[in-house]
């Protein structure tokens, strides 16, 4: 079944069965490996991509449902907010193993795009679904606040 997808600004034809999760199309077919497989049940957030700008768990998104959508992965994300988030993540050395961080960053960009000055509670509520087994949460919180500061400067 050939599906046409718009990923990172490029239209791509993909031949996979309906019901295939977007995650596996991105990773195994398109070899965009920055989007990670962590659980497959939308409970860790490592697979987060943007669909029409909204952070979405690609492991529970089926290929046939996104043929009309704009899909953005960590490799293709570019915006003022993304720049601020990357800068903040680097300044604070947030990463440890790094495996969840593509998803964390995609969620953080979603949050700051919606709300450039989130409170701690808003950060925690928004980021709750992104698990980090290295427990870098304290720095994620601080980096989102720092990115907000950069955006507001």
């Amino acid at each position: 079944m050939v599906t046409s997808l718009m990923i990172n600004g490029h239209r791509q034809e993909i031949d996979v069965p309906d019901g295939t999760p977007l995650l596996w199309v991105i990773r195994d077919e398109l070899k965009l490996t920055g989007t990670k497989f962590g659980c497959g049940v939308a409970s860790c957030g490592a697979c987060t991509v943007h669909i029409d700008g909204q952070p979405t768990r690609s492991c529970q998104t089926y290929i046939e449902d996104v043929s009309d959508a704009e899909i953005t992965t960590i490799e293709g994300v570019e915006s003022e907010v993304a720049g601020a988030v990357h800068q903040a993540w680097n300044e604070l050395s947030v990463v440890q193993c790094g495996y969840c961080q593509s998803g964390q960053i995609m969620s953080a960009i979603g949050l700051l795009t919606e709300n450039r000055t989130p409170s701690v509670e808003e950060i925690e509520n928004y980021m709750w679904g992104n698990a980090c087994r290295c427990a870098t949460y304290q720095r994620i919180r601080a980096a989102i606040q720092r990115a907000s500061e950069i955006l507001e400067a």
Partner: protein, 723 residues
């Protein structure tokens, strides 16, 4: 990290060294103090003709910061900013890249900095001296007038880039004992603002993990494993799998370990596996349920211990009889999965003379041995390409090299002609064993008329991690696996009349080292008992601990110091509101001393962790910010699991399916962690693990102030409601 250095390209670059690059310590004629032994034959630095310095990292990087740490040592001795150093993971080579504390190549026990500190500094210092000598020769002046700074060789108005002299420098003899910088001159070591070298790759999605490997002709393999530990395959039916697009084949593993399911893609392999049914023989399997396992473990600590790990049982019994007060408590800890964020995976590809293993490889020695044994090829024909590891917490190295053996079987059973990528799902990970053992303790502490400890009878039981492993000779003595009692028998407290008894649990459930190993439970027991004793003696928990650290040893002094700092920084003496409480715990593990104060609030019976204040003495703080990050991580790991994680069985089958029933620590669980590093000139000790042991004990001690002493984990199943 741009290119991973394969062994072949490494050899190639070595032969081209004279022309283009300098490799410190490579080859029999270019060795670092060869007479001192094999450790100094190791090549750690490569300098290209355009002046790029690359640190060859002999440890894997699973987030703990080892790559940044080792590069820091080279940057320091070469007078370079850390961010000017490139990093590459070393190939498998047990001669050049052995962990000096293991004698083989591998990462574990929080030893990366400790074993590499002098080795990498020496390599950096040797490079500096060789570059200076080469520049001095080129200018025809004394080397004493030449300095190396920020990649430039400078003498008066003469300036050369290190790339300009790298070729000539490579021809020089490597100084056996180069002059190391005096610690007072350090500008990179101890600098809190250097950042991590893997920040850029890990924030842009470009860091390569083993899960990201896609080789030409590669297929995916997943295993259908026995649903019970110790079960073996009787038969399987894969007829329904043929309906799955991309399914290739299902092959029974001859050992009865299970079925390998091959498919064109990972998703197809997962789908096909679900379509296969199998029958298993459970006659030698673990068929009990967790309630039974728990009661069996608790029965064992109330029985005569199998091994005497420390002390004289009769004398301790007598001391207990003479005690003014006795405090008695049982403790229980469930099996725990490591659950690293990247599920286990590796890829094996055919090569000219053997194979290449692509892996976030914690133990190249173990991986080579496993592939060598299964594939019947010499270990040196197993090339290892180490990639970033998406966490480990101990899981990527087991005594049996479990997933490497599986991958080798999958590769061989497919004919060995094409790359095979083994992938574990999260469900495989949680059900897959190699857990932190389930553990029970029973402790009876006797206090004298002044409230001081006069007797300590301690029984524990768990499955031995090291018996039957290649490390047995090092860690098992007189039947006692030290990892089962570490943190108890070597406690730093003055505990007269301490007896420690151990009984080995014999379950077929596979166990392994889980971040901080035995300390993951012994610190909890020791530090809860110390708090209970302090309470019984009506003394402040910190004063009470200090009163049991009176021998004047350096060990006790360092432990006492972190206690005092944690107390001061947490403002221990200040009055708290009624809905707040705090608890402290302190523990030495992996050579590092950590004290942690947990402050909690309670709202309508729900407990929220407000702040964890930590003090750490890990010797010379090489990368202070990495140290803080590891303490933050260790605290989160310890507290998160203690709050709500357990692996349980029903009739031998693991109940937990995926993260929803093995709920990870989340961003709102701990509001703040603050870490204070003790300045030190002692050699660096571990940092990846030592933050974990005291964390849950400090939490329990805080909860106890609110009126509830929780002694069985997970806490949320044993009476504590978390916000």
């Amino acid at each position: 990290m741009t290119n991973h250095l394969s062994r072949r390209s490494f050899l190639k670059s070595a032969s081209a060294a004279a022309a283009a690059s300098l490799i410190i310590g490579f080859g029999p004629d270019k060795v670092l103090a060869a007479s001192d032994g094999i450790s100094e034959f190791t090549p750690f630095i490569r300098i290209s003709s355009d002046g790029v310095v690359t640190a060859i990292i002999k440890h894997f990087e699973c987030g703990q910061g080892a790559a940044t740490g080792l590069a820091t040592l080279i940057a320091e001795e070469m007078n370079m900013p850390l961010d000017q150093i490139e990093i590459e993971f070393a190939p498998a080579d047990g001669t050049r890249y052995a962990n000096l504390l293991f004698g083989s190549q591998g990462t574990g026990g929080s030893t990366s900095l400790a074993n590499s500190f002098m080795q990498y500094r020496t390599a950096g210092a040797a490079a500096r001296e060789m570059l200076i000598t080469a520049a001095a020769e080129q200018w025809g002046i004394s080397h004493e007038t030449v300095s190396l700074d920020n990649g430039q060789l400078i003498s008066g108005s003469n300036v050369l880039s290190i790339g300009d002299v790298a070729g000539n420098a490579a021809q020089l003899n490597v100084p056996a004992e180069p002059t190391l910088k005096d610690p007072s001159e350090f500008t990179v070591i101890g600098n809190p603002n250097t950042g991590r070298l893997d920040n850029a790759a890990k924030t842009t999605g470009t860091a390569q993990y083993a899960m990201d490997i896609h080789l030409d002709g590669q297929i995916a393999a997943v295993l259908l494993r026995s649903p019970r530990f110790g079960g073996t395959l009787v038969s399987m039916d894969d007829s329904a799998a043929s309906e799955i697009p991309g399914f290739i084949r299902a092959t029974e593993i001859p050992t009865g370990a299970g079925v390998v399911v091959y498919a064109q893609t990972t998703w197809a392999a997962f789908q096909a596996r679900m379509a296969i049914s199998a029958e298993w023989d459970f006659s030698n399997a673990e068929n009990r349920s967790s309630d039974q396992i728990k009661s069996d473990l608790l029965a064992a600590v109330n029985s005569e211990p199998e091994h005497h790990a420390k002390g004289d049982r009769t004398a301790t019994e007598e001391a207990l009889n003479n005690a003014t007060q006795i405090i008695e408590q049982e403790f229980f800890f469930p099996n725990l999965a490591h659950a690293p964020m990247e599920p286990l995976t590796c890829t094996i590809a055919p090569a000219e003379n053997g194979v290449v293993l692509y892996d976030g490889c914690q133990s190249p020695a173990g991986g080579q041995a496993a592939l060598s044994a299964v594939l019947q090829i010499p270990a040196e024909n197993v090339e290892v390409n180490t990639l970033y590891a998406g966490g480990s917490f101990g899981r990527r190295s087991t005594a049996t090299a479990d997933y490497h053996v599986e991958a080798a079987l999958a590769f061989a059973l497919n004919g060995g002609h094409q790359p095979v990528k083994l992938v574990w799902s999260r469900e495989d990970d949680l059900a897959g064993g190699y857990y932190r053992p389930a553990v029970a303790h029973k402790v009876r502490v006797g206090l004298d008329e002044n409230g001081k400890i006069s007797a300590w009878d301690h029984r524990t039981t768990s499955k031995s991690i090291f018996k039957g492993s290649p490390f047995e000779a090092f860690l098992v003595h007189n039947g006692v696996d030290h990892s089962s009692v570490e943190g108890i028998t070597d406690t730093l407290y003055d505990l007269p009349g301490q007896f420690v008894g151990l009984t080995d649990d014999k379950t077929p459930i596979t166990v392994s080292w889980w971040r901080s190993v035995g300390h993951s439970h012994t610190a909890f027991v020791m530090e809860c008992m110390m708090d209970m004793a302090a309470s019984a003696a009506e003394q402040d928990p910190i004063d009470y601990r200090l009163a049991h650290l009176t021998q004047g040893t350096s060990d006790q002094a360092r432990l006492a110091e972190v206690l005092r700092i944690a107390a001061e920084k947490s403002d221990w003496g200040r009055n708290l509101q009624n809905d707040r409480a705090r608890g402290i715990a302190v523990h030495k593990s992996f050579g590092t001393y950590v004290a942690e104060v947990v402050e909690i609030s309670q709202d309508d019976s729900y407990v929220q962790i407000e702040k964890v204040t930590c003090a750490v003495d890990c010797g010379v703080p090489v990368n202070p910010d990495v140290i803080k990050a590891q303490i933050e991580s260790g605290v989160g790991y310890g507290i998160g699991h203690a709050m709500r994680n357990e692996i349980t069985l029903t009739d031998g089958e693991v109940d937990q399916f995926n993260f929803p029933d093995y709920e990870p620590l989340r961003i709102n669980d701990i509001r703040a962690i603050e870490t204070h590093i003790v300045p030190s000139t002692e050699p660096p000790s571990g940092i990846g693990e030592p933050g974990t042991p005291p964390a849950s004990a400090a939490l329990a001690n805080a909860i106890a102030v609110l009126g509830m002493r929780v002694t069985h984990h997970p806490m949320n199943k044993n009476g504590v409601d978390f916000a």
